[in-house]
Symmetry: C2
Subunit: 328 residues, 2 copies
């Protein structure tokens, strides 16, 4: 067993035993899994219960990760570590107390908004972004206190900059790319990347085609060159992978992610009415089994082994260590 | 029995038989009652069930009002009519379908936000107001369709102007005063009043001390002169009473209204840490029993009986007729 720690900063997989096995065998040590898009508190509890059944039925393959130490234990025992996260603040509904309740139940990462305006912050598809709300300012304090990592992957620019500023602890953008690489509402400006890096935060690079230059036709070389350019903005210590790999879902799941319960009219998110289905993945990243292609691509670009190790997981590991415990 | 229709566009009373009796005997024909501030769907259903017990136990005194025709029936039968309304969109949670569900259960008026940013619109205590959200635009369409009146009493300026613009049906500000009278975050600018009047909407004048010039020391004459000035901006047909009378509640209720579940830190709303309790009412409006003082004050200011009738209830009656039915 090598001592390489590989962490994927976000996946959204329709998990089953075969997929757990394939992901563990890929070399990935720990993955941040999505257990809420629009789910309210009660619904996310059902998702946590479903995960409890996964842990019971696949105890030889997977284990929950609630701390950086758990990542190391997963590595030692040859299991895939699972970090629970929400892509929205919907699980806390309107109740600040639920942040600690959900941390107690194992959640470690929460986005403040998902595409739309939330009670805490603005999503990247809204026309206007007023920044962090009154409730949002209180929620950030509480997330800092209990050790719930703030994730702004689907948030709008001003809200993201304010979250970086207001949060006492560094925040993350677990899965997005720079807009200099591909100018999409979901990607992040140089200004956001600079502020994120300076504050000690983390960016996870996404392999989701809507975030890539030329979509699924983006080459591994272009992807790794983009990582190199981002290192120049943020430094090598603030970057990781957040593949945003989606696998095993039908169109209804994509509709749920895009439209939740907030609209009767169809919303196509990053797609269009003519191109509304799940996108094709680049050939060099069809799924977790291809994760080592990234490390090879980085080596081909001249990254040192130490820097590759940081990008592939060591940075996330250090960041989890800083982020998941309550403030002393 | 005279044929005067008196409608109070908003009260928040800890209702019991004695208060139903006193309100009915005051001459008030129908009152818009608040059944949600921060309540979610399930909680508002409990409040509706509580009202069902009120209707059962006080069938000789009160009746539900779901249409303008019900107001006339309440008048004829000598009962107090009750219109259900929400001061926030919390009862629909994140689900646009719940607008029709709650209309089916008797709700007729819903504010798009209460002081804070909501999923639909911005509240008047937020620092920034981005206007109506993506979900808000969809919700306005659905409220228009089913006949749920949009109320922007506690919303911020831009959101209010956009709601007036986006809504196909006129909207209301059920309880607030002009800022030219008293400059408070809860009161409304000339620009809002003009847009509201031009669009056929309604303003209900508030007797809540935080909305009055000199608070509880405001005189009846000053209040009625303010109504006269507002007629010049909006016209006589777009104005009514929305007393915002609060009665029978302890401090815990005020804390709930101000802080909901969104903050651990105390929020004093329109009050301050030194002056946080329920405010004293002006001597000319201690409660519903004083409603006819307003009519007398208007007469003393030279309003005609016809205009007084409009202001005291006829305008609300006409507006309810336009607002509460589904679009054909």
């Amino acid at each position: 067993m090598n001592d390489q720690i590989i962490i994927d900063g976000l996946q959204y997989i329709n998990w089953n035993r075969e997929r757990f096995e394939r992901t563990r065998d890929s070399g990935i040590t720990t993955v941040h899994v999505t257990i809420a898009y629009w789910e309210n508190f009660r619904e996310v509890i059902a998702n946590i219960s479903q995960w409890q059944r996964h842990f019971d039925n696949n105890a030889d393959l997977i284990m929950p990760v609630r701390s950086a130490a758990d990542v190391l234990q997963a590595k030692q025992s040859g299991k895939l570590g699972i970090v629970f996260g929400f892509q929205n603040c919907s699980p806390i509904e309107d109740d600040i107390s639920l942040i600690k309740v959900l941390h107690d139940l194992g959640a470690r990462i929460m986005q403040l908004s998902y595409n739309n305006q939330s009670l805490l912050a603005t999503g990247c598809y809204e026309e206007n972004d007023p920044g962090i709300t009154r409730f949002g300012k209180q929620a950030i304090k509480e997330m800092n206190r209990v050790g719930m990592l703030i994730d702004m992957s689907h948030s709008a620019e001003r809200s993201t900059l304010e979250a970086i500023e207001l949060s006492e602890r560094p925040i993350a953008i677990t899965h997005a790319n720079p807009t200099f690489f591909h100018d999409a509402l979901r990607n992040k400006s140089d200004r956001v990347l600079q502020a994120l890096g300076e504050s000690g935060g983390m960016l996870g690079f996404s392999m989701y085609p809507f975030h890539l230059k030329n979509g699924a036709d983006c080459t591994l070389q272009e992807f790794c060159q983009m990582i190199g350019q981002t290192v120049e903005i943020m430094g090598i210590d603030h970057l990781g992978i957040g593949s945003d790999m989606c696998e095993g879902w039908g169109y209804e799941t994509l509709e749920w992610m895009r439209s939740g319960r907030w609209t009767f009219a169809a919303d196509y998110g990053e797609g269009t009415a003519d191109n509304k289905e799940w996108p094709r993945q680049p050939d060099w990243f069809q799924g977790s089994q291809d994760i080592m292609n990234i490390a090879e691509g980085l080596a081909a670009e001249g990254f040192t082994q130490q820097d590759i190790d940081k990008l592939m997981g060591r940075n996330w590991l250090r960041f989890f260590e800083q982020s998941f415990e309550p403030l002393g």
